[in-house]
């Protein structure tokens, strides 16, 4: 038997395969395809204090081995979440984590306080890296000062596990990881989408209504992997790797580079069962290679 578990502080995850915010709905979209409770955890879609309609259509464009999206945090707000979603989603026997978003530090704080009172939500993922909103989002995550301020403020009110999701659209992601570690984050997750763009040459117009959007999918994996490796070598809190993970091999690259866990994003659109397949694939790899604990391979490329 292989040990697949990992911890963020005293919060235990039965395995290190999670699903990425905004790509897994509230889990129930996948009930027909997998047993969601088999996952190590699910990160729910980006939630805000007030309901949001998001950006205008068109909101996506396909690119070579990638997709651009400009959803812009469409969600029904925290009230609706508490009233309608909370009971349903916490029935899954796994760690259910909310991805929180705001336009101001006060928004983030108010939301963190509300979520802090939800007994069955053991952690939040602080999203300071959404490229698709005019206010907040990536503006926080690409500025060291506001990254510090928002992390500090949320940390002050939120006592459970705080994961901060970093933006890749920066010169040196290590600086940001160090800042959030200093301010008491329990883990970092990276990467969010790269800011990208596509043009429709037939109509001579941008492909997205918002012109720019967030690039995800296999195209970004090399960048994601590089950043995970850099950050894992710089901080002592767990690093959750995200970006272009489509299969077991991709996931393993992240563990070998230093990730303690991974999130599957866009891949779930292509194959709604892929997260579970990856989980099984990792176990098989460990067995084949003769390891009995996933933690033995985390960051192993640095030791060879």
């Amino acid at each position: 038997m292989v040990n697949m578990g990992f911890n963020i502080g005293d919060l235990h995850f039965k395995n290190p395969v999670l699903t990425a915010s905004g790509t897994f709905g509230y889990g129930s979209e996948f009930d027909d395809f997998i047993n969601v409770s088999d996952l190590g955890g699910i990160i729910l879609k980006g939630t805000t204090l007030e309901p949001r309609e998001g950006n205008p259509y068109p909101r996506m464009a396909e690119t070579a081995s990638g997709m651009l999206n400009s959803v812009g945090l469409q969600n029904k707000g925290i009230d609706y979440f508490e009233q309608v979603i909370y009971d349903k989603v916490t029935r899954y026997d796994t760690n259910v984590i909310i991805n929180i978003n705001g336009s101001t530090i006060d928004d983030y704080v108010a939301l963190a306080e509300r979520v802090g009172r939800l007994e069955k939500i053991p952690a939040i993922e602080l999203n300071i890296s959404c490229p698709n909103v005019k206010m907040g989002g990536m503006a926080f995550g690409t500025n060291p000062y506001s990254t510090r301020e928002v992390t500090k403020a949320v940390r002050a009110v939120y006592k459970k596990k705080l994961i901060v999701k970093l933006s890749p659209n920066v010169t040196n992601i290590v600086d940001f990881a160090r800042i959030v570690e200093e301010e008491g984050a329990d883990a970092v997750s990276l990467i969010n989408t790269l800011l990208g763009m596509a043009v429709d040459v037939k109509s001579m117009k941008p492909s997205l209504a918002t012109i720019t959007g967030g690039l995800s999918g296999p195209a970004i994996k090399p960048v994601a992997l590089r950043m995970v490796w850099q950050v894992a070598n710089a901080v002592s809190i767990p690093v959750i790797g995200i970006g272009g993970i489509m299969n077991t091999t991709d996931a393993l690259e992240f563990f070998l580079a230093g990730a303690s866990a991974i999130q599957v994003g866009t891949a779930s659109f292509v194959d709604p069962q892929i997260s579970i397949k990856i989980l099984e694939g990792i176990e098989k790899y460990l067995v084949t290679k003769g390891y009995s604990d996933i933690r033995d391979i985390v960051g192993i490329i640095n030791r060879r």
Partner: protein
């Protein structure tokens, strides 16, 4: 109606006129119940430009033979690859997806309007209506005679009327210009096709208070309600074309 993901064997790839073709698929075990207006998400292997699935309407279903088919137009890399698939190869699908057309609440006079590859779901819909004792007429619009899709199958449903933009076959003009719309009194119109056509039909119907459902073809990331990319702005806010649609009553659309 649970969604499934499976690879189904292609039992026929029948080329039609121009860029159109029909893929017929055989169930593994029993095919699930499907409803007219529903669609499948097809995986296109083997092209870096087609990493996401492609949504395609269910064209026809034969529960007896345990088969169903898709009518597809080649418009880009994905559909191009699909057009080259051969009998005996497999197609990976997530299906059945989306809501469906609903039976008329009142009135017996029904018209189906389709344009271009938007005629695809209307065959399944027409047969369904017939089995529920409606006798719909069918109005199909194409750019020109050259681009008319073989529509013999649609004669099983009812009378078929035709328009082409250049008048090279049928009446000249858009579907909304057809004389049948000036004389006949339909209480229910179902429409699928390019957005300008849907909008013209919607205007026609609103003015006359005709019950009208349209099937939208928004760009989709996932097809299962997970990505929120396929939204359409409705009186109820942004809804997902993939799970709240693709069929919408025009009363709900902010057109």
């Amino acid at each position: 109606m649970a969604k499934r993901i499976e690879s189904l064997k292609i039992i026929e790839n029948k080329p039609l006129k121009k860029d159109f073709f029909i893929l017929a698929l055989a169930g593994n075990g029993k095919i699930p119940e499907m409803k007219p207006g529903q669609f499948v998400e097809v995986r296109v292997d083997g092209s870096p430009g087609t990493f996401l699935r492609r949504p395609v309407s269910i064209h026809d279903v034969n529960y007896g033979q345990n088969t169903f088919s898709l009518l597809i137009q080649v418009v880009g890399k994905g559909t191009e690859t699909l057009s080259g698939l051969k009998r005996g190869e497999f197609l990976n699908l997530i299906y059945p997806l989306g809501n469906s057309f609903s039976l008329p609440k009142s009135g017996k006079n029904v018209l189906l309007i389709g344009g271009g590859c938007g005629i695809a779901p209307l065959l399944f819909l027409g047969k369904y209506l017939k089995s529920n004792n409606y006798s719909p007429d069918v109005l199909l619009g194409f750019r020109n005679a050259e681009r008319i899709i073989e529509f013999d199958d649609y004669r099983q449903i009812g009378k078929v009327f035709l328009t082409t933009e250049d008048g090279s076959q049928g009446e000249k003009g858009y579907v909304t210009d057809h004389s049948i719309l000036k004389t006949a009194e339909y209480e229910n119109i179902y429409c699928c096709g390019p957005e300008p056509m849907l909008k013209a039909v919607a205007i026609y119907c609103s003015k006359r208070n005709i019950n009208c459902e349209v099937s939208l073809e928004n760009l989709m990331g996932c097809g299962i309600g997970a990505c929120l990319c396929c939204v359409v702005n409705t009186v109820k806010g942004n809804l997902c074309t993939c799970i709240d649609g693709p069929v919408f009553n025009i009363k709900d659309l902010k057109w």
